[in-house]
Subunit: 389 residues, 2 copies
């Protein structure tokens, strides 16, 4: 196959400008490597709320579903922060993940020699760090039920008890309250995983680890949480049976948060649930020094994956040609590798990004004082990568 349908989701803030820069790079790459990308845009996030009153409208879903892959910039902004939750940009992201079944989120944190001084950690601590966080993305407390904010009022309610992909249990829920709690609010979300959900992310992580350094660290809180105990049990079952050659270890999430700072080189691949993965992958990204460099991949059982930078939409600098397009360009490289099976072209993109850094070009977020490098804007950075591929 040498022609692909790609949905572009430019999103909010700096999203459109980094998408434009990335399109230029992809145009140069397809020309050089003789394949075609048919790129069409769709709405998500704040842009979709403004246009359709829905942060991930049905049209966008259908367009993604009929594509080979999806490239997403970033979403969000102050403008929508006061909206009710279902009309916030983030809800579009969660809806997209769930509707496309994107249960596996790969977040590499690789320290590039050229940018090592951008890290707040000491050079000797981060030099050579190359961690991959495999985060479960459609389960856990993000999607579990029951959830809500109720006022304890003694009434009867029907609610669902279940996890995201497996809504398996219904129950009848009766408030039998002590009068001292009457009128009080209580907020709750169910942290829940079914064994099949854990097994399938363990398989992805086992596969990723076996193609990397062969070491997998599973992070949980099994000393306190039942859901983590099941997580640990199932990860052990899958890994022992299906990935006997991957070295498996376990770490509590509080310790992992420490060890990532204390001695990050001990990690190769990390696998963890949705909320712990949210926290740890962001923490790990700081080892690299700049979020502006970090891509991510979200993939499902079948159908298109979604590839996006780890950074946000940076509304403060939007439209000022100050944004760093490299994380989106590197996300496009992940798209080529994981969704389009074009590892060679992915390599070309990644090497081109390194080459541009070697040439000394830097956007503001990765420019260090007195580094002798040249400060460039988003457009110039994109053009420089495009010129090299």
């Amino acid at each position: 196959k040498d022609s692909y349908q790609i949905t572009l989701l430019p999103g909010d803030g700096i999203g459109p400008e980094i998408m434009t820069a990335t399109k230029g790079v992809l145009a140069a790459l397809t020309k050089r490597c003789n394949f075609e990308l048919h790129m069409t845009e769709a709405l998500i996030g704040g842009a979709a709320i403004d246009a359709k009153n829905d942060p991930f409208p049905e049209e966008s879903l259908q367009q993604c579903l009929s594509s080979d892959s999806v490239l997403l910039s970033c979403i969000g902004g102050y403008k929508w922060d006061a909206n009710p939750r279902e009309l916030r940009p983030e809800s579009g992201l969660l809806k997209m993940r769930k509707q496309l079944g994107l249960f596996a989120n790969l977040r590499p944190a690789k320290v590039l020699d050229q940018l090592i001084d951008a890290s707040t950690l000491k050079r000797e601590v981060v030099e050579g760090v190359d961690v991959m966080v495999v985060r479960e993305l459609t389960g856990d407390v993000y999607f579990g039920t029951p959830k809500g904010i109720d006022v304890v009022d003694g009434k009867e309610l029907y609610i669902l008890f279940g996890s995201s992909s497996l809504t398996l249990i219904h129950h009848i829920h009766t408030f039998i309250t002590d009068s001292i709690f009457l009128g009080k609010r209580v907020g709750y979300n169910n942290m829940i995983y079914g064994e099949d959900e854990i097994a399938r992310i363990a398989r992805v992580a086992g596969d990723v680890a076996s193609k990397r350094g062969g070491k997998l660290c599973s992070v949980d809180k099994a000393n306190v949480l039942d859901v983590s105990q099941l997580w640990r049990d199932v990860v052990i079952e899958v890994m022992t049976k299906e990935f006997p050659n991957v070295e498996l270890s376990h770490m509590y999430v509080d310790n992992a948060a420490m060890q990532l700072i204390r001695w990050p080189k001990q990690f190769d691949t990390i696998v963890t649930g949705n909320i712990f993965g949210d926290i740890l992958s962001d923490e790990a990204s700081m080892l690299v020094g700049s979020l502006g460099m970090l891509p991510s991949a979200s993939i499902g059982v079948s159908g298109p994956g979604v590839f996006e930078p780890c950074h946000g939409s940076a509304p403060d600098i939007a439209g000022k040609d100050l944004a760093n397009p490299l994380a989106l360009i590197l996300s496009a490289a992940m798209m080529l590798r994981y969704d389009l099976d074009r590892a060679e072209e992915a390599d070309i993109l990644e090497k081109s990004v390194e080459a541009v850094l070697d040439k000394g070009l830097r956007t503001a977020d990765i420019k260090q004082e007195n580094d002798g490098c040249k400060l460039v804007g988003c457009i110039e950075m994109g053009e420089a990568v495009a010129a090299i591929v």
Copy 2:
């Protein structure tokens, strides 16, 4: 009052030896400052499991309840790791927290100039860092119900729905399952907070912040979780009404995990729930470079508080006179300040610790290569502090 009843919980691993060192220091202090501490020991953790088959036996609880304050070393060890959860040392800790109503956990992370090079972060990033994490300690997903690991089998169950301090809702729980899930395991814990639980920790945090830099950052995941939305609402209500002079901000937990590394000096006091606090306080402790220096205080509505180091029981080095007693000594200082209302004596202890560091004494965990300091053991370090107070 100049005579106090103190329960000492030496615990496991290095616990007994750092407790011995700390007792020596407290003996010197009471002598100098003319007050009395009646110290008696009780069992917790692995030691209690071995002696009483219970990680926090009733006798220990009673002894703590009849004391003015409790000083705890540390618990745990490989020996008990394979035990069922209720017979693990950690369960003793959770039981103690809940039974003593210790809902507020104060974890200072203060970078000492003398140890600044022990941090893996750059000097200019951590110099002067002084963060206090106020962690809620008896609620959240740690104690919420329903919880468990069930095999989906179509049976009816009665379970509790509630939070720790308010077990308020009961329900009838009926599995109505799709046959494809039959026989599958599901693990779950309820992440839940009642408004009173949030309000009382907000009050502690507001009070702490007003006595420090006057800035409070509340950390949650309100863009995804209902329980976090209630957290944020209640924190805003309490702070606006009761602490109008404290500057309140909010941060998502993933961003907080980044910002602690990127620019820790932006934080003064942080308040957050049990699980996020577990992760973030451990992460914050790494700014300081060594867990061996970090005390913590756990306090309740009334009754004795528990004061303990943030470090674990380090079974590898137990009994070898290698442990660092300073975190326990600094925990005793927090005990003097928060439970015994002896701020002056707390100051003396803290200054004595700094003085010993100024003299160049270092246990192995805080010794840097070529720092020109003298390597000492646990006993010598304790004696050195005792000699100064």
